[in-house]
Amino acid sequence: MILLDRVTKSYGRDGKPALNRISLHVEPKEFVIIVGTSGAGKSTLLKLLTREEKPTSGKIVVGGIDYDQLKDKHIPLLRRKIGVVFQDFKLLPQRTVYENIAFALEIAGMTNREIKNTVPKVIELVGLTGKEKHFPHQLSGGERQRVAIARAIVRQPKILIADEPTGNLDPKHSWDIVRLLEKINKYGTTVLLTTHNVEIVNKLKRRVITLDHGKITSDQAQGSYRQGK
């Protein structure tokens, strides 16, 4: 599903690489947690996958798409195949819960009928039934992240990238979000989760990839994480 082959990403001419010749293979339907301290390269890795950044060298293939062959005009199409959830939610503040989720379908050119059929089901899946007409500022942090997840999965992507989705949430809401991600993974979506939360990493018992100074320092099938590592 995701393949990185000796990928390096450097910023500036003589800058230290944010990612240094990393190779990685993620199977379909896997749930992978990426951990590492600030500056370890987690965000750079995710930016390469969403094509916000181009690698300095190396090969990236996601969902069968070779990024080397990708032109700028194809990037929006690629991004529609990948769901992304951010720590700061990145919702449209002037649009309701329903409109935020529907937006992801509207940009893909789906008809109004298709949207009307799909959105309520996803709202139900993330547990926000009854809050369709609320604006983001009327929701709690956990609810906002649920909207972001609903928006990310409404197009049924094969891959869901969650960049520190629990970073702004209290423990209860963090676990709600993690359980939701597990549920989505169970339905067949490959999930890539970056987090600092030791408790979540250790309790989930999933594959854990540890990044440090731009290199993969460990890759464990049922890994754990110790803070400061």
């Binding site: 293979h25 293939v61 069968g64």
Partner: protein
């Protein structure tokens, strides 16, 4: 992982492009943004209104200036004088010859008798002057009052007074033509001021319009800058550039449309309100007539200008944030 596909794999799963649906959605989002960002809408529309109003008033002021200058030009006459005893037939010959000159717009002949009657009429309350006028023989000259096309260029008229034999035979030796000597300097000064006012008015109009457009551009740029994260998010979930830009363009067009309606109403209203107060000073009535006659055209031009400024500003302002 199997055989890797190229970008064609992305296009295969792509929903058939529904341009019309996308257009409707962009418009709807633009209208939603317009109605939901109340303060931004009020601020941007106000700035756009002021801009269009400045443009309208600048052009109206220029029209008033041109009309006033025309009126001044029209009042400014060149005069040549003939002796009191010039026969009417000779005066008619001179008048005809003057009218044939290409630089002459019109010629009026005031005979010595008419000049005396005119003087008497003007002095009817001054008994002493009237008595003196009745007792004295008429020494007033006959005069030709001439309007010329370009008040700065009386050369043809000058040539006429030096070469026309009939005039030279009858010329009043005590009164040189008004475009010679000291009086010529005065006419030239007026002519230069008129020319300066015309050119200055045009330059000021262009400068005002450019400054106004830059103010609106900056306002829209700031508004879009405030929403750059929104644009970033749209990009990351796969929105096309046109889909991201569309609502901003629609929104800015709406600012322009509403601002045009308000600015036209305020501008035309101001012209009507100022007409009575300014009529003694400048020629404003023609501008008011034009504004009334072409109100539909003015409104359309204002809407198109407002929309064009909005569209161009929003396209330029969003371009910066739409790089992949």
């Amino acid at each position: 992982m199997g055989k890797n596909a190229g970008p064609k794999a992305l296009l295969q799963g792509r929903t058939k492009r529904r341009r019309w649906l996308t257009f409707i959605r962009m418009c709807r989002y633009g209208i939603n943004n317009f109605s939901r960002n109340a303060w931004l809408t009020v601020a941007a529309t106000a700035v756009m209104t002021i801009t269009l109003l400045i443009m309208f008033m600048t052009l109206a002021a220029r029209q008033v200036l041109v009309d006033t200058v025309d009126a001044i030009k029209d009042k400014l006459e060149m005069s040549i004088y003939v002796a009191t005893d010039t026969p009417d037939e000779q005066a008619a010959v001179i008048k005809k010859a003057l009218e044939k000159l290409p630089s002459v717009k019109s010629v009026t002949y005031i005979s010595p008798e008419e000049a005396r009657a005119d003087f008497a009429e003007k002095s009817k309350n001054d008994m002493q002057t009237l008595d003196a006028l009745n007792e004295a023989t008429n020494k007033l000259p006959g005069s030709f009052r001439i309007k010329i096309v370009d008040i700065n260029d009386p050369s043809e008229l000058n040539h006429f007074v030096q070469t026309n034999e009939t005039y030279k035979q009858n010329a009043d030796p005590d009164r040189p033509p008004s475009f010679q000597g000291d009086r010529r300097t005065a006419i030239e000064t007026i002519g230069k001021w008129v020319e300066f006012a015309e050119r200055g008015g045009l330059v000021a109009s262009v400068i005002f319009i450019i400054i106004s457009a830059l103010i609106v551009f900056n306002t829209i740029r700031m508004a879009i800058f405030n929403r750059k994260e929104e644009i970033q998010m749209m990009k990351l979930i796969g929105a096309d550039r046109s889909f991201i830009r569309g609502p901003f363009v629609v929104e800015a067009t709406m600012y322009g449309f509403i601002a045009a309606l308000i600015a036209t109403a305020l501008g035309v209203g101001a012209l009507y309100a100022l007409q009575d107060r300014l009529d003694d000073w400048v020629t404003i009535s023609h501008t008011v007539e034009l504004a009334t006659m072409y109100i539909g055209f003015i409104l359309l031009a204002m809407i198109l200008t407002g929309a064009a400024i909005g569209v161009i500003s929003s396209l330029l302002a969003t371009r910066k944030y739409l790089k992949i």
